[in-house]
Subunit: 213 residues, 2 copies
DNA sequence: TTCACATTGATAAATATTTCACAATAAAAA
DNA sequence: TTTTTATTGTGAAATATTTATCAATGTGAA
């Protein structure tokens, strides 16, 4: 399923809607209202309805949205039909944290390999994911048709890691280092900069504090 | 220093500009052009100039921007004069990763305490940061005037952790769990959802792939 | 049957963010 | 001295995103 030009922000929220819906699915409820979804995510009901409109989903005027149907539809839109395989490069604390966070999340995304340079980590299995030496990266990525790479190495190695991943044929990159990366246009890159996030919190916390004083 | 209504995105970039500038400061260069900053961060030069305009900084028509001056000005705007103290709650892999990432970053932000529930971690020092039992959270936060909290606990404990932090007087929160939190308006909350980020990468990688096929 | 009600769906307005386009300027070159 | 050049600074346009508003609708109550 493909919808023209879904806004980035909507894609992010769809992922969040699905998670929220999966959580309430277990209960006896079969339907949910836009204001209920909105409340769970602390956004406005209009925002929810607008997003659902964009993906062409219609609710029931009296009962709201069918939870199961909606979960399925979101899956059809944001998941790839055959699933996508993911590799984590760098098995330090951050790499391990990422793997644990994903463990158990049933999903079309599966982390199937980790890479590191430290001999002690090679050939060990962490949380179900085997760790290989980075020299094998290209080979394993191609063999296993891995299309997404997560960069969790020390920043100074980020550029070369990205380059290797791109050459190995990766289609999307999630960069956790603060080093901005350069990738060709056919690779989607998302930067995820913790230091900037913390500095942003610090700034707005300070500002808020002045305002409410 | 205070500038009215600096856009969120600009605040994020200011943090990034500063880091990039600090990296090139060591060299003999004293000035930098907007297109050089832009290239380092993979954005447009106009964007850079617009941001600097918003903070009221003027460059030299021929030499560009004075690196040292600019770093200082950004500091005056995004840092708090007396600095801000930070606590990390949850000293699992993620908590440890966050602490390591910040280590050595000279900054007005300092992580000065960690909290966990696991007795083996209590009273131990990780990367210069002492870990305390979460029962001491309120006391230590108040005593040390900690104003920012980082939530890195398992998601199911996120809400109660947030509540405790807010009651202890925290001003800003950075939430690494996928659980959306509820905080009063005088606390600034930033959500940092790894799963959503990865799903977003997967979506756009898939889309890109179709487009360039 | 009719009315009141809560909710969806969608147009239009508002807000936020980025980019275009170019005047102004000062240094270097001619 | 005059011209060329590269750069900044910024109003205006473009784009992206969120929010306001309200007609339409179907259900249950009167």
């Amino acid at each position: 399923m493909f919808i023209k030009n879904l806004p980035h922000k909507t894609v992010e929220r769809l992922s969040q809607y699905r998670r929220a819906l999966l959580m309430i699915l277990s209960k006896e409820k079969t339907h949910v209202f836009s204001h209920e979804i909105a409340q769970m995510l602390h956004i406005t009901p209009v925002q929810v309805r607008r997003d659902l409109m964009l993906i062409g989903y219609s609710g029931n005027l009296r009962k709201g949205y069918d939870i199961k149907e909606l979960i399925e539809l979101i899956g059809k839109i944001i998941d790839s039909e055959r699933g996508q395989r993911v590799a984590v490069v760098g098995l330090g604390n951050l790499g391990k944290a990422i793997i644990s966070y994903f463990k158990g999340k049933r999903s079309k995304l599966s982390i199937i390999a980790a890479f590191d340079i430290n001999p002690e980590k090679i050939n060990r299995v962490y949380d179900g994911v085997a760790c290989h030496h980075i020299s094998q990266m290209t080979e394993i990525i191609k063999q296993n048709n891995i299309s997404i790479g997560i960069i969790a190495v020390p920043s100074e190695y980020a550029p070369e890691t990205a380059e290797t991943l791109v050459l190995a044929g990766i289609k999307g990159l999630l960069n956790f280092t603060p080093k901005p990366l350069n990738v060709p246009p056919f690779v989607y890159l998302e930067e995820y900069d913790m230091i900037t996030s913390l500095e942003k919190v610090a700034f707005f916390a300070k500002k808020n504090d002045e305002r409410f004083k």
